[in-house]
C-alpha cells in the first residue's frame, strides 16, 4: 500500500489530463455545423464576450495608464521619454494584452461556463438532453469551445485599444508629449506580423485553452454544490497556470 499511494498521487493528474484530452477529441469528432449551431455559438459569444467587456475595458485602460506612468518615469531619466509608446505597444501586443485578458476571461467567463455546466449536470439538464436524443457535446460543449476561440481574441483587441487610449491619455494629455511622435514611434517599432500577429495567435490559443478547461471542469464536476464550487476554483487556477506556461512556450517559438 505504501508504494501504491505515491504512485496514484503521481498518476492521478496525468489521468485527469488524459480524460480532458479525450473529452476534447470527442467534442471535436462530433462537430456538426448548421444554422442553429451558428446561432448558438453567437449566443455563447455574447455570454463569454460581451459580458466580459466591462472588466476588460476598465482593466485595459488602467493597465495602459500605469504602464505608461512607470515607463515614462524611468525613460525620462535617460532622456528617452519618446520611447514610451514603443514600450507600451510592444509589451501590450506581445505579452500583457493576451495574458491579462486571458486571466480576466478565466475569472469572468470561464467560471460562469464551469458553474453553468456543473449545475446543468447537477439539475439533470445534461441527462434530459441525452434522453431527448440531443447530444450534449454538440449542444452544450461545442458552442462554448468555439465561442471562447472567438471571444478572447476579440477581447484582447479591445483590451489593447483601451490600454493604448490609457497610454495616450497619460503621455499626451497629462504629460504633454507630442502625439505625432507618440504614434510614429509606435508605428516604426511594432511589426504587424511578428508582434501584432503573434499576440493575436497567442490570444486564439489562450481562448481555446480557457474555454476547454472551463467546459471540462464543469463537465467533470461532481453534481453537488461543493463539487461545482470546487470546479469553479479549479477552472481559474488551471487556466492561469496553463496560460502562463503556454505563453512561455509560444514566446520561445516566436522569438
Amino acid at each position: 500500500m505504501s508504494t501504491a499511494a505515491p504512485r496514484t498521487a503521481l498518476t492521478a493528474p496525468v489521468r485527469e489530463l488524459g480524460r480532458a484530452v479525450l473529452f476534447l477529441l470527442t467534442a471535436f469528432s462530433r462537430m456538426r455545423f448548421g444554422r442553429r449551431q451558428f446561432a448558438e455559438i453567437l449566443r455563447q459569444v455574447y455570454f463569454a464576450g460581451v459580458r466580459s467587456l466591462v472588466i476588460i475595458v476598465i482593466s485595459g485602460f488602467f493597465v495602459g495608464l500605469v504602464l505608461t506612468l512607470q515607463t515614462y518615469d524611468t525613460l525620462t531619466r535617460f532622456g528617452a521619454a519618446d520611447a514610451v509608446s514603443t514600450v507600451l505597444a510592444l509589451s501590450l501586443f506581445r505579452e500583457l494584452g493576451p495574458v491579462l485578458a486571458a486571466l480576466l476571461f478565466a475569472g469572468r467567463a470561464g467560471t460562469s461556463i464551469t458553474a453553468e455546466i456543473g449545475l446543468m449536470r447537477a439539475t439533470e439538464q445534461l441527462d434530459a438532453l441525452d434522453l431527448m436524443a440531443i447530444d450534449p457535446m454538440e449542444r452544450i460543449v461545442q458552442p462554448r469551445l468555439l465561442a471562447g476561440l472567438i471571444a478572447l481574441p476579440a477581447l484582447v483587441l479591445i483590451f489593447n485599444v483601451t490600454a493604448i487610449v490609457g497610454g495616450v491619455f497619460f503621455a499626451v494629455f497629462l504629460m504633454g508629449s507630442d502625439p505625432i511622435t507618440f504614434w510614429s514611434n509606435m508605428q516604426s517599432s511594432v511589426e504587424l506580423v511578428r508582434d501584432f500577429g503573434g499576440g493575436l495567435l497567442k490570444a486564439v490559443c489562450f481562448g481555446f485553452v480557457a474555454a476547454w478547461l472551463a467546459v471540462w471542469f464543469g463537465w467533470s464536476a461532481r453534481p453537488t454544490s461543493e463539487g461545482v464550487a470546487l470546479a469553479t476554483t479549479q477552472t481559474v487556477i488551471a487556466t492561469a497556470i496553463a496560460v502562463l506556461i503556454l505563453d512561455f512556450i509560444l514566446s520561445a517559438f516566436m522569438l
Binding site: A39, L42, R43, V45, Y46, G49, V50, L53, A80, A89, F93, I150, P153, A154, L155, L157, I158, N160, V161, I164, W183, M186, Q187, S188, S189, V190, E191, L192, D195, F196
Partner: protein, 155 residues
C-alpha cells in the same frame, strides 16, 4: 433576460467592435514593414556596417523610402553585402546615388541614408550602389582624432 434576438444583435455588435479594433491597431499602431506595396532591390557593399540590422529603414533626404532586406558577408571581398528594398514609388534614383550608414541621434538606430547624384540614368532592380561610406564606429573615430591631434602637435 434578454430575448434571443437582442443577444444575437449585441454579440454581432461586439464582434464588429473587435474588427474595428483590429483595423485600428493594424493601421495606426504597427509598421507594415515600411515597404507595403511593390518594391525593387538594390545592393551596396560596405566595409563595415556597424550596428545596422535587417529591417532598418532606408531614407533619402530624411524621408523613409525603403528598408534593409538582408546583410551578408561577401566570401571573397570580405565586405558586408547589404540588400535594400526600395519602394517602387521611387524608381528614378540616379545611377550615381551614394549610400552611407548613419545613426539617428546619439542612442538611436542605425539606418541607410541615400544621397542622390546627378546622373540622368536611373537605378533599376538588382543594380549596385557603387559609392558607399561605412558606419562610423565610435572607437575608430576617437582613435583617429587622437592620432591626428598628436601628429599636429609634432609638426
Amino acid at each position: 433576460m434578454k430575448s434571443s434576438h437582442q443577444i444575437e444583435l449585441t454579440a454581432g455588435i461586439f464582434l464588429l467592435l473587435a474588427i474595428a479594433a483590429l483595423v485600428f491597431l493594424a493601421l495606426h499602431a504597427t509598421d507594415r514593414g515600411v515597404v507595403s506595396g511593390d518594391s525593387y532591390e538594390l545592393t551596396a557593399s560596405f566595409s563595415n556596417v556597424g550596428g545596422l540590422k535587417p529591417r532598418a529603414s532606408v531614407s533619402m533626404g530624411g524621408v523613409t523610402i525603403g528598408m534593409v532586406e538582408s546583410i551578408d558577408l561577401d566570401p571573397e571581398t570580405f565586405e558586408a553585402e547589404v540588400t535594400l528594398l526600395i519602394s517602387s514609388e521611387y524608381d528614378n534614383l540616379p545611377e550615381d546615388t551614394s549610400a552611407s550608414i548613419l545613426t539617428s541621434g546619439i542612442l538611436g538606430d542605425q539606418y541607410v541614408g541615400l544621397e542622390p547624384g546627378g546622373s540622368p540614368e536611373a537605378l533599376a532592380d538588382g543594380d549596385r550602389i557603387l559609392i558607399t561610406s561605412s558606419a562610423m564606429v565610435l572607437e575608430q573615430l576617437i582613435s583617429r582624432y587622437m592620432f591626428n591631434s598628436e601628429g599636429e602637435g609634432e609638426e
